[in-house]
């Protein structure tokens, strides 16, 4: 079977591991792309919370979407998040000041590397990665290549969230350098109701379910119902 020798970690998303041979390959990089309100940050936090349950450490790098202070205030109502893990098993690091100050891809990468080397996490989130492309000076593609390479060599599964534009369904430049692309989207059902959907577009070394699958977000986090479209 494809990917049977790859080690895997559970995604934390209810119903998703069955779509991808048991979980994300370890180590690997995952792009979770979607427009505003599709559940990207919730996905990322649920992934980190699963890691805590499995005895792993996580780092959540915020960029310039939402300061940690406000993000945490909005997400603490989720039942899967244990506040006792904040700053301990899950560390929050703001990339905003480094981005604003230098806009230098090498300095940004070093800042990320230094935090990882100090804390040794098995799960990493950068939320959102797509903002960095507009901020840094220099070669963005080279930065993305180095970043993805480093993240895997630190031996972690990393989720990079990506904001999408009306003219492109997902950030194309990032999709080439990651191992997995998960697309979160909004769509109308046949009854005319707007619902959320999850689709795995790409997953290296893994046989995965294709197509859009219905996704619900509740106090318990995201649940995917495979087969419901």
């Amino acid at each position: 079977m494809v990917g049977e020798t790859l080690e895997r970690v559970r995604s934390g998303i209810n119903g998703m591991d069955e779509m991808m041979q048991g979980g994300f390959a370890f180590p690997s990089t995952v792009l979770v792309a979607g427009s505003a309100g599709t559940g990207k940050t919730t996905f990322a936090l649920q992934f980190l919370a699963r890691g805590v349950k499995d005895g792993e450490q996580g780092i959540f790098f915020t960029t310039l979407s939402e300061p940690t202070q406000w993000m945490l205030r909005f997400v603490t109502h989720f039942s899967f998040l244990d506040k006792d893990t904040f700053g301990k098993q899950i560390r929050y690091v703001d990339l905003g000041p480094t981005l604003r100050k230098d806009r230098d891809p090498d300095k940004l990468l070093k800042f990320i590397d230094d935090n990882i080397a100090e804390y040794m996490p098995q799960r990493i989130v950068i939320d959102p990665i797509s903002v960095i492309g507009n901020m840094i000076k220099g070669d963005y593609r080279m930065f993305l290549y180095d970043l993805a390479n480093h993240l895997k060599n630190w031996r972690a599964v990393s989720i990079l969230t990506g904001e999408v534009l009306p003219q492109e369904p997902y950030p194309v430049e990032i999709s080439y350098i990651v191992d997995t692309v998960v697309l979160l989207s909004l769509g109308l059902t046949s009854e005319g109701t707007r619902r959320k959907y999850l689709e795995i577009l790409k997953m290296r070394g893994t046989q995965h379910t294709t197509g859009q699958h219905l996704m619900d977000v509740s106090r318990d986090g995201i649940t995917v119902t495979v087969g419901l479209k």
Binding site: E7, D114, A117, M120, Q122, N149, N153
Partner: protein, 185 residues
């Protein structure tokens, strides 16, 4: 950490082939923990054999964790195919790629004296399971065999394998067959 305490007790003064069975996600932390014990507490010299990722990443981790590397020799089979190039602490020998199985064994044999040098030491592999995409199990067995003889008969020399028995049972069996002793964590 618990792994250092268990390792300290099981490996205190003893050499041989030591196997630590840990989940793949915990390998790096356990590896750093063990190196901290061997280098800072026991002041031993040793070899890190990198077959999974460029040794610079482990080197940087040790630097951040305050573990000195002046008594470490890195044998690195990955950097040349990794797309990475950077300076690192510690002595470094690069292989052209992990496909050079014969070179592995020869190189390990050649370094036996240089590394052990009549004093206690160790070799640790980061991480044996990563060799599976590159070579067959008999090839891995030859490498493991060469690594276990690296101490050149020094009773205190340790060949340490941090591995995930659950994901690489066949490699675990090979190491145990070649005299491995599992350190319970």
């Amino acid at each position: 950490m618990a792994s250092a305490a268990a390792f300290r007790e099981a490996a205190s003064g003893a050499g041989g082939v030591l196997v630590l069975d840990v989940k793949c996600t915990q390998m790096t932390r356990v590896l750093v923990d063990i190196l901290r014990h061997l280098i800072t507490e026991r002041e031993e010299a040793g070899v890190v054999f990198s077959v999974d990722r460029p040794s610079a990443f482990l080197s940087r981790l040790l630097e951040h964790q305050g573990i000195p590397q002046d008594r470490l020799l890195y044998l690195d089979a990955v950097t040349n195919i990794s797309g990475e190039s950077f300076d690192q602490e510690g002595k470094l020998e690069l292989f052209s790629s992990p496909f050079c199985v014969n070179l592995f064994s020869e190189f390990v044999s050649c370094h036996s004296e240089k590394v052990a040098g009549g004093r206690k030491g160790f070799v640790v592999v980061d991480n044996l399971g990563a060799l599976r995409p590159y070579m067959t199990n008999p090839c891995v067995e030859r490498i493991v065999g060469a690594l276990t003889t690296l101490g050149g008969g020094d009773a205190g020399f340790k060949s340490i394998f941090v591995m995930d028995k659950g994901s690489t049972p066949e490699l675990y069996d090979i190491v145990m067959r070649l005299g491995g002793r599992e350190v319970p964590l």
